[in-house]
């Protein structure tokens, strides 16, 4: 093995699936350093001066886009936001046209969010720059899984051996898929807790245990990750009502009582208070890591931009 290669030797960050524990640990270590830097008064560096980062978002997003924007700017890059209403474009061809246009402008990093699974991969095949997947359909959202892992690792000291329950709309969730891959490869044990209508077919094949009641699924877990449930899925298609969902699957102190006493709660945001999580619980600083996750998000994205632009420079393997 070539000792000169960086520990993360890919041009893009398209997903967690397929990454090695070493690569993930490397990205987390890099992120750790950026947490400290962001907390200091000397937040801004000139590391990426002259680099151009484009946030190309085909889906509404405030949090993720702002997080990437801030990460880029703190590293001194020029960051441009492009938000394209997905409904206004005929997909496929236009997506590639957009990529080709941006490619011609000599950009360095393209951060892409798209409602269709596989869109980031498709773009990555057409451009010379680095591509970061900021969420593609129900497929992957790698930086979310990395920031979740960083949050857990900083609190618990490690990932291996932890029991993590991911609860809610797994069927439509890219966050769930990325987290399952990451936690599995890092030696944690993953459970899914959801009504059957919100679980994908063959969920067990992802290497998880599946539960249909919070009481069983949360038993003795270290971490509870709640997923957001979209309102349009609450009207009788996948689940009958918000009321029924909260009754059986919304996280409150009672349902939390079966976990390990020091279990922590996470949520990728934005939260639906009173739908998937009790409002007081979400704000409980003893149990909830939700605000910490947002902080870790910026650090993880700084690390990813740093590592990927570094790889562009040395022309490493794709």
């Amino acid at each position: 093995m070539n000792q000169d290669l960086p520990a993360y030797a890919h041009r893009h960050l398209l997903g967690i699936e397929g990454l090695s524990p070493l690569e993930i640990s490397y990205l987390l270590d890099q992120s750790d350093a950026y947490v400290e830097k962001s907390r200091s008064n000397d937040r801004k560096s000139a590391l990426l001066r002259g680099r151009t980062v484009i946030n190309l978002f085909f889906e509404n997003s405030t949090r993720t886009r702002t997080s990437f924007e801030l990460a880029g700017k703190r590293l001194g890059a020029d960051v441009i936001n492009m938000t394209v209403a997905a409904s206004s474009v005929a997909k496929g061809e236009t997506l590639i046209d957009t990529a080709m246009t941006l490619n011609a402008m000599h950009i360095d990093v393209l951060v892409v969010r798209h409602p269709d699974s596989g869109a980031a991969k498709l773009l990555s095949e057409k451009v010379n720059c680095a591509v970061i997947n900021a969420g593609d359909g129900a497929h992957e959202h790698p930086t979310q899984a990395l920031l979740d892992a960083l949050t857990i690792r900083r609190r618990k000291g490690h990932l291996d051996g932890l029991l993590v329950a991911i609860c809610g709309d797994v069927l439509h969730s890219r966050v769930a898929r990325s987290n399952i891959h990451l936690l599995n490869v890092m030696g944690a044990q993953v459970r899914l807790v959801a009504p059957r209508t919100l679980l994908p077919a063959c969920a067990e094949a992802l290497g998880v245990e599946v539960f249909h009641t919070m009481k069983d699924g949360l038993k003795d877990v270290d971490i509870v990750m709640m997923l957001r449930v979209q309102n349009e899925r609450m009207k009788g298609n996948f689940i009958p009502s918000i009321r029924e969902y909260f009754h059986f699957f919304g996280l409150d102190y009672e349902k939390l009582s079966v976990t390990k006493p020091d279990a922590l709660i996470m949520h990728p945001g934005p939260m639906n208070r009173g739908v998937e999580i009790d409002s007081d619980l979400a704000d409980d600083v003893e149990r909830s890591l939700i605000r910490e996750q947002v902080e870790m998000g910026v650090a993880v994205r700084m690390a990813c931009l740093d590592v990927l632009t570094g790889n562009l420079g040395n022309g490493g393997p794709v």
Binding site: G236, N237, F238, I239, P240, H247, F248
Partner: protein, 435 residues
């Protein structure tokens, strides 16, 4: 009738029938208050307890009260056809001590409040026990799931859109899948709606001669076959209501052999009558599903005999005169059945297809077990819900004597063999035949 809990009652000289334990012996049964405290062939060998009231069964059969898993109530919404009170009277006259009612009332039983309303109203009249099903989909429209989890917690025994089939395959998939989250059963009216649309009787030669639009037997087979695939896909629990065709029996048999969690019931008209009962446009014989061919009827009998069909339910569907005294095509579907459930089913015994124990199993123990009811057994500690009947006494179905508010029986005038003598709910006699 006293509302006070009764003291000890000794039922002596009875033929005890308890399918759960396989007991079919002469013997006695002792109740105290609302529960059974003794049962067996030798129970009163040392004499009847001095403090017990003594009821001599005169050699008649004593069995767990019937559990009728498919009853339409008029209440709420159609009280002119049937009320909880009149259905309760009819039930106990037929030996039924527990009945489960369909949610296609007005308003539809699709929310917790309506489930609780039915339960509260039913408790008041103190006759047969009434349990509700709740709707699978809101307003039984087949479009959006009802609150299955909360309804189950509120006491809905299982879920069904009643007399309407769940048309969309995707909705049925989600319903089976969601219901399996809570371990509850989906009960389907197995009929492909687009094939049944406009039809009024079984498709075949008779319908052709009468000039009536037919509902083909395949309408049932198509829906069942589709549903079996969805059960296999989802791992859900499924019950097919009132199957009526030869093919349906074959489909359910295969599904059971494959290990799917599938059960089914039929109703007396489908093993006791065939399409010829429609005769000269008799609207009382207009049922849903329609009465089928003689071939189908024989297959239903065979299915019962072989155990492919688990349960017999009355499919009680009261209709007033205005709904039935109409040209055949315009008349409503359905027939009353609570008061003829046992007597017509006894024909299967008299004709040598089922033993008396098997008859009681299909009418009482099997539905209670399926729906998780503590009923259908002669067991110490169980509720004293009993029926005493003479299986041989001859008679004739006389709707004029029905306690049901509606008289639309397809068995009108039929000679029968068997009679309910006494019905006991929670230890109290709620029906005693005038002999």
């Amino acid at each position: 009738m006293s509302v006070l809990a009764p003291g000890k009652i000794a039922y002596v000289n009875a033929r005890l029938l308890d399918p759960a334990s396989g007991l079919d012996r002469q013997g006695g049964l002792l109740t105290e208050g609302e529960i059974i405290i003794g049962v067996g062939p030798d129970l009163f060998k040392g004499g009847v307890p001095l403090d017990a009231e003594r009821i001599d069964c005169g050699g008649a059969c004593l069995a767990p009260g019937l559990v009728d898993m498919r009853v339409q109530l008029g209440e709420p919404g159609q009280e002119h056809k049937e009320t909880l009170a009149s259905a309760g009277e009819a039930a106990v006259a037929g030996g039924v001590t527990s009945m489960v009612c369909l949610p296609n009332t007005d308003p539809v039983i699709d929310d917790v409040a309506t489930v609780e309303f039915v339960a509260r109203r039913a408790r008041k009249n103190g006759l047969a026990k009434v349990y509700p099903y709740a709707a699978v989909t809101k307003q039984i429209e087949g479009k959006e799931l009802a609150e299955i989890g909360m309804l189950a917690e509120a006491g809905a025994l299982a879920f069904t859109d009643g007399t309407k089939a769940i048309r969309s395959a995707q909705m049925m998939r989600r319903a089976l899948s969601y219901a399996a989250t809570f371990g509850v059963i989906i009960i389907q009216h197995p009929e492909e709606p687009s094939m049944a649309d406009g039809g009024v009787m079984n498709e075949g030669e008779l319908a052709t001669r009468l000039g009536l639009a037919g509902i083909p037997p395949v309408a049932e087979a198509i829906m069942l076959e589709r549903d079996m695939r969805l059960v296999a896909l989802t791992g859900g629990r499924y019950h097919a209501a009132h199957i009526s065709t030869k093919e349906s029996v074959a489909i359910i048999r295969t599904a059971k052999q494959q290990g799917l969690m599938v059960t089914c019931d039929t109703a007396p008209p489908y093993f006791a009558l065939n399409e010829l009962a429609v005769g000269d446009y008799r609207s009382f014989a207009k049922l849903s599903p329609p009465l089928r061919s003689e071939d189908d009827r024989r297959a239903i009998v065979e299915g019962l005999k072989q155990g492919v069909i688990d349960i017999i339910a009355s499919d009680h569907a009261p209709q007033d005169q205005d709904s039935k005294r109409l040209p055949f095509a315009q008349a409503e579907f359905g027939g009353v059945g609570l008061e003829t459930l046992l007597t017509v089913t006894l024909e299967l015994h008299h004709n040598g297809y089922l033993s008396l124990l098997q008859v009681i199993e299909k009418l009482s123990f099997a539905p209670a077990r399926l729906l998780g009811l503590a009923a259908g057994q002669l067991q110490i500690g169980a509720a004293a819900d009993l029926v005493i009947f003479n299986p041989d006494r001859a008679g004739r179905v006389d709707p004029a004597k029905f306690r049901s508010k509606s008289k639309n029986s397809p068995f009108d005038g039929r000679p029968i063999q068997g009679r309910v003598l006494r019905t006991v709910v929670d230890g109290r006699a709620v029906f005693i035949a005038d002999l």
